[in-house]
Symmetry: none
Subunit: 157 residues, 2 copies
């Protein structure tokens, strides 16, 4: 038995005229294993759709409920924004979910969607936007973490 799960990988799927997309099969397996459901909402920070298991939002709600952190007001606000925007997306017998106009528009998705794993969450992007975003992140991470390559010291010039 596994209590853990991870949304991984990057998967490109078609969006048909009805707004339907196949949820990647790995993601479906997680939903089944956990007996939970997929929840999606507009990302607060990026032009993409964000998704997770309903369980995760439940944990968030509990944290807020029991939090004694005086300075977490901002986080509470942000979280509440998400709750207001989030919606359950069950998938049909062929494994597809029907994304709404609101979500598709926010992410600028028309006929192709990119699912990007984020561990306990995932995101859905427009292909071109994701390409740019990935390039940005790679550059950013490499810049900020030269430490990743400690064996390349140039001490003897």
């Amino acid at each position: 038995m596994r209590s853990n799960f991870l949304f991984l990988d990057t998967i490109i799927n078609k969006v048909d005229a009805k707004g339907r997309v196949s949820l990647p099969s790995d993601y479906r397996a997680i939903v089944k294993e956990t007996s939970s459901e997929i929840v999606c909402y507009r990302s607060l920070t990026s032009p993409c759709i964000e998704g997770c298991l309903e369980d995760l939002l439940d944990k968030l709600a509990t944290e807020i409920e029991t939090s004694t952190d005086f300075f977490s007001q901002t986080q509470d606000d942000l979280t509440n924004l998400i709750f207001g925007d989030a919606k359950r997306f069950p998938f049909d017998s062929t494994g597809r979910i029907g994304l709404t106009e609101k979500l598709l528009k926010h992410a600028n998705i028309t006929d192709t969607a990119v699912f990007v794993g984020k561990g306990r969450k995932f995101q859905i992007w427009n292909p071109e936007n994701w390409e740019k975003e990935e390039a940005r992140i790679r550059a950013e991470v490499l810049k900020n973490r030269p430490v990743l390559r400690p064996t390349l010291k140039e001490e003897n010039k």
Copy 2:
């Protein structure tokens, strides 16, 4: 459950037309013992594939989940990069995994792959590239740690 295991040794295996490679049997034993699964992704710093147990990523996800800045930008970037690139690779009844085009291309692997143990992780290289990389590393180590020299025999002078 044991948390101690090591990916060791250097093993050369064939990659067939379908992208299938035998996972070294020692590695398979580790997967079975830990009841985990192999996860692979493109190395951030080298032209090679990197692999580890899913447990390792799961720990990372838990750390992020329980950290206080749920909405941190840097964290978002990192999770996208790591979880978005990583993919589970279960092996079939004959012990093979099917590497993807994306990974093979990144590592420049066509028909032969070299598995290199790295302890908690391992890497998969194109044979020629690994040969160069190993030479580079050895040279680097000797240069930066002259103390090692006295123990080296002078047999290839």
